[in-house]
């Protein structure tokens, strides 16, 4: 049975339960080795963006929103940051806690209740899976609540001039939609970095909030 559009949470539960740890949150069209490389590639880009916009200090408080199996969370922790990961999938969170430690929490993006403020919020290849615009907006608001006054938000999407849909579980929203929604929370887009990994059309966008 194909769920997805109607019930994204169940869709991701099934996907994390069925696929291997690297393909579940990666690209199903890639092999395990290619997915591993894909994660490493994106992690490098994330680190580069954090260093550029949040500074090179260690010990930044980072929220990995939609962390999946927690590969980015663990990678950033190894770089010396204080990283917390959240995801809607209980299966993925249980796997992450078992393999990477107790730094994970099961929560939806829009319902996340932070107990502290974060210097950096990263949300990698998640938001275009949020099909409902209200939930998408609520998720961004949640990021805004969790981010401190001097913070960086790293999100990925196609950032095309117009939104477009792929299949029944991907909605690529336009750059203007992102700019407008985040601009209400004082986030300003500073940089766009295309993936340049195979034919993947997505880009990293770094939004900064500052006084």
């Amino acid at each position: 049975m194909t769920v997805g559009l109607q019930d994204p949470i169940s869709f991701w539960e099934q996907r994390h339960a069925a696929l291997d740890p690297w393909a579940a949150g990666g690209d199903r069209g890639l092999t395990a080795e290619e997915n591993h490389e894909f994660y490493a590639f994106r992690l490098g880009r994330i680190i580069e963006l954090i260093r550029r916009h949040a500074g090179g200090e260690r010990g930044r408080r980072i929220l990995d929103a939609g962390c999946g199996r927690g590969h980015f969370t663990d990678g950033l922790r190894r770089c010396g940051h204080q990283v917390s990961g959240i995801d809607t999938s209980q299966t993925a969170i249980a796997w992450a806690i078992e393999h990477y430690g107790p730094h994970f929490e099961q929560s939806s993006l829009h319902g996340f209740r932070p107990r502290a403020l974060f210097d950096v919020v990263v949300c990698i290849d998640v938001l275009f899976h949020v099909l409902d615009d209200e939930l998408w907006r609520a998720s961004l608001s949640s990021f805004g609540r969790a981010a401190s006054a001097e913070s960086v938000l790293v999100v990925t999407d196609a950032f095309r001039p117009r939104r477009f849909t792929l299949g029944n579980y991907i909605v690529h929203r336009s750059a203007d939609e992102y700019d407008h929604a985040l601009g209400e929370m004082d986030f300003v887009r500073r940089q766009l970095v295309p993936y340049q990994f195979g034919s993947n059309p997505n880009q990293f966008a770094a939004y900064c909030r500052s006084v």
Binding site: R113, A116, L117, R145, S148, D186, V211
Partner: protein, 830 residues
């Protein structure tokens, strides 16, 4: 801080308090106090004046577990007053973030202007949101709010840290106090344990005293009963006598005579005589009246009290009792008189008799009580199971065992004669037998304990080494035993009869039906003697030089007591055939199964020297494997008590080497020794280059040689720190006597005197001379370690006799014999 004070601190004249907190929060009662401060209070928005200068709007965030409640509205009350300040109460700081209050306030153009810690039990935190002066950007508003909130969180963390620090310090203090308390408790426990131990000792002593008093009371009651019976008998006899006397003196004839005698004795008076006669006839009998007035028998001096009786008895029984020699644990036992002497040489031993065992055991509790089969033989104090009219020996033995078990005193039985049975009705803690084949009753708990000898009693000292020799037989001719063995014994005695045989009959003088059973054959009767006392018997055997043994084995592969004792005395032993597991012992004795072989063996032994190499090997085997001290310690181990036997004699060689030549000489001396039983300690002067290997002889175990430099801090007193009982102090003048250490070790095991010398010619030194062993014509002298402790404590052995004498101490050295061409400069000093 009180909630009313928070309101007052933010109020201005004309301010209004609007309470929008949840009903269940319990904040309204605090906020309602604001009118006392001049601030109008309104619960809810109804009735709120819109013309107020300031509206202080109170909100409460949902408490933990009430996440469904909506966040407060911070943006919709702008028209309530000219200026609106929102005071938000929360039970935790994180709630401001979880519910996005900062974000809401930023969007409403408010910033967190101040934070407070309230006195409320649940809503401990309060944040005041109001529009700041000017028109700050939303980012600046957010930053201001975060700054205030972080400051509040930091303060809270610092308070929590301070509280944790205080608690930690308190815990540390408690821990220190607890440790001190634990130490006090340990000290108390140690004290209580000491008290407990003391109480156990007292309890044991009281148990002994109680048993003694109980026994004394029983005996006193018995004696009192007997005395009472006697008194009653006397009283009955007295009453009968008095009755007879009264009857006779009250008879008519007696009164008539008494009246007539009284009337006549008063003189002739015709008128008074009839009256006197009549008064004499009718009057009272003075003799009877006087007897009636005397106290009855039994009212005299009271009997002695039971305690006094027991004290008197004990003082009589223990009169002259001396403590067993030595400070160590004692053993007591029911043993034969000859075995008791041997045991007394091996350990602190107290023989028990049926009449005094309880007093002796109460006087000093031994480590264990040993009952041997020879101690229960007929003729012994416990034998015959008592004497006619006396105490029952079997009952006394049972009482002894019961008493020991009651006192938790181990009591064991050793079947030393291979009787194959245990006294009936007696339950010992352990039972031993001399051979596996002679286990008493075949009981599975019986353990094998082979025969053994004590070298202080059975030794070759003063054995006659000159011919002619003649055989001696000590034992019985018991026809109840094995017929083959009896025939072999008869053949052995028959062969020896023409060679000066003496027979010491252990049953000589026995009367009754058993006498004929144990009587020697008629042709030997002329040679039979009564068995002499133990010391005389040993002297006679040593003079004779040949000992005949019949019935030699106590079991398959087990040597008999007689064989071991004969070998230990250094005489030739001829035995009836037996099988021994010990090859050294087998070679040291002669076996004869018939008269011809016995005669041949006796002729051969008559010319064979005593104390030869074959005997020496057998003797060494006896010292090593058949020591009575080992047997006693084995029993002690079985009883779970410490070793009881006296430690065996042990020799140590100590030397001080002051030059390389002396080192080589010491090496030569040690190389001449062929035993490894002695430890060697060498103190070497620091400037001499000598290795320990240069000192070793082939026969010396290197592990037993210790060497220290004189400059070593451990050297002080090191030479005197040996565990040996005897020491041989080597000096440069010591000759290289082969086996000197072995001979001295052997001699030390045979005597208790301090000074030993192995060859004649040492009379000038005052040393005791033991003339056996093939040593050359020099004297080797050793003394007990305690005797030279003064010298050894100074880290040096006595170097010469003159110095030792001058010091007034005792020493030991090698004495050169004049015949060997050495200067007589060294002497034994004791």
């Amino acid at each position: 801080m009180r909630i009313a004070d928070i309101l007052f601190s933010h109020a201005v004249p004309g301010a209004l308090v609007v309470d929008l907190t949840a009903e269940t929060a319990g904040l309204s009662s605090h906020a309602a106090l604001s009118p006392e401060l001049g601030l109008p209070y309104r619960r809810g928005l109804a009735g709120a004046s819109e013309g107020a200068a300031l509206a202080l709007v109170l909100h409460s965030l949902p408490a933990r577990g009430q996440d469904d409640a909506p966040p407060p509205d911070l943006s919709g009350l702008a028209g309530l007053a000219q200026r609106v300040a929102h005071i938000v109460f929360s039970d935790r700081i994180e709630a401001f973030l979880e519910l996005g209050i900062l974000d809401l306030a930023t969007r409403a153009g408010h910033a967190l202007s101040s934070t407070h810690i309230t006195e409320h039990r649940v809503f401990r935190f309060a944040g005041v949101f109001e529009r700041p002066e000017g028109e700050p950007t939303s980012s600046r508003l957010r930053l201001m709010s975060e700054y205030r909130l972080d400051k509040l969180a930091l303060g809270e963390l610092e308070r929590a840290l301070a509280k944790a620090t205080r608690e930690r310090d308190g815990m540390k203090a408690s821990l220190v106090e607890a440790r001190a308390g634990r130490e006090r408790l340990r000290e108390e426990i140690r004290g209580l344990q000491a008290d407990h131990q003391q109480l156990r000792v007292e309890h044991r002593l009281l148990g002994v005293e109680y048993q003694r008093m109980t026994r004394a009371r029983d005996e006193a009651l018995g004696q009192a009963g007997a005395a009472q019976d006697q008194v009653q008998a006397y009283q009955a006899r007295l009453a009968a006598t008095f009755l007879a006397l009264e009857r006779s003196r009250g008879s008519f004839a007696f009164r008539l005579g008494r009246a007539t005698w009284a009337a006549k004795s008063a003189g002739v008076n015709v008128f008074a005589m009839p009256r006197r006669w009549l008064r004499g006839f009718r009057g009272r009998d003075e003799v009877l009246e006087k007897l009636r007035e005397r106290p009855r028998l039994g009212g005299g001096a009271p009997l002695e009290s039971p305690a006094e009786l027991v004290g008197i008895e004990k003082s009589v029984l223990l009169l002259g009792l001396e403590p067993a020699a030595g400070p160590g644990p004692m053993i007591a036992g029911v043993v034969g008189s000859r075995f008791a002497v041997e045991l007394a040489a091996s350990a602190r031993f107290r023989p028990l008799a049926p009449h005094d065992w309880r007093h002796l055991l109460e006087a000093e509790l031994p480590a264990y009580v040993l009952v041997t089969a020879d101690g229960l033989l007929p003729g012994a104090a416990w034998g015959d199971w008592g004497t006619p009219g006396g105490r029952d020996g079997a009952a006394m033995l049972r009482e002894l065992v019961a008493w020991c078990r009651g006192m938790q005193l181990p009591i064991v039985y050793w079947d030393t004669i291979g009787a194959g049975q245990v006294p009936p009705g007696v339950r010992f803690d352990a039972v031993f037998a001399v051979g596996a084949g002679r286990a008493p009753g075949g009981r599975p708990t019986v353990e094998v304990l082979l025969p053994a000898v004590e070298p202080l009693v059975w030794n070759p000292l003063e054995v006659a080494r000159v011919c002619p020799r003649h055989p001696i037989f000590v034992g019985a001719f018991d026809r109840r035993g094995d017929r083959v063995e009896l025939a072999a014994t008869e053949a052995l005695l028959g062969a020896a009869a023409g060679r000066g045989l003496e027979i010491f009959d252990v049953h000589r003088g026995l009367q009754g039906p058993l006498a004929s059973t144990v009587r020697f054959p008629d042709e030997l009767q002329a040679l039979v003697r009564r068995r002499p006392p133990a010391e005389a018997e040993r002297s006679a055997i040593k003079r004779a030089g040949i000992l005949l043994c019949g019935n030699p084995s106590a079991g398959p592969g087990v040597p008999s007591w007689d064989v071991l004792r004969g070998l230990a005395m250094g005489v030739h032993v001829v035995s009836t055939p037996l099988t021994l597991d010990d090859p050294e012992l087998t070679q040291a004795i002669e076996l004869a199964g018939d008269q011809a072989s016995a005669a041949e063996a006796l002729d051969r032994l008559a010319a064979r020297p005593l104390l030869d190499e074959v005997w020496r090997r057998g003797f060494d085997r006896i010292l090593a494997g058949y020591s009575l001290r080992d047997r006693l310690d084995r029993i002690a181990e079985r009883c779970g008590v410490a070793a009881v036997a006296e430690p065996p004699a042990r020799l140590a060689v100590i030397a001080r080497v002051q030059s390389a030549a002396e080192g080589r000489a010491l090496g030569g001396f040690l190389a001449a020794q062929t035993v490894q039983s002695a430890e060697v300690r060498v103190l070497v002067d620091a400037e001499i280059e000598i290795e320990i290997d240069a000192l070793l002889g082939e026969g010396i175990d290197s592990a037993r040689v210790e060497m220290l430099r004189a400059t070593d801090p451990r050297a002080s007193g090191w030479l005197g720190d040996s565990a040996a009982t005897h020491v041989l102090c080597w000096s440069a003048s010591t000759p290289e006597l082969a086996d000197a250490v072995a001979e001295l070790s052997r001699a030390a095991a045979l005597t208790e005197v301090d000074v030993l010398a192995l060859t004649p010619g040492t009379g000038a030194s005052g040393a005791v001379v033991y003339g056996y062993g093939p040593l050359p014509a020099e004297a080797v002298v050793a003394v007990r370690r305690t005797a030279v402790l003064g010298h050894l404590g100074e880290g040096r052995p006595p170097e010469d006799a003159a110095a030792a004498l001058a010091a007034g101490g005792t020493g030991c050295l090698i004495e050169a014999h004049p015949a060997a061409g050495r200067a007589d400069s060294n002497r034994s000093v004791a």
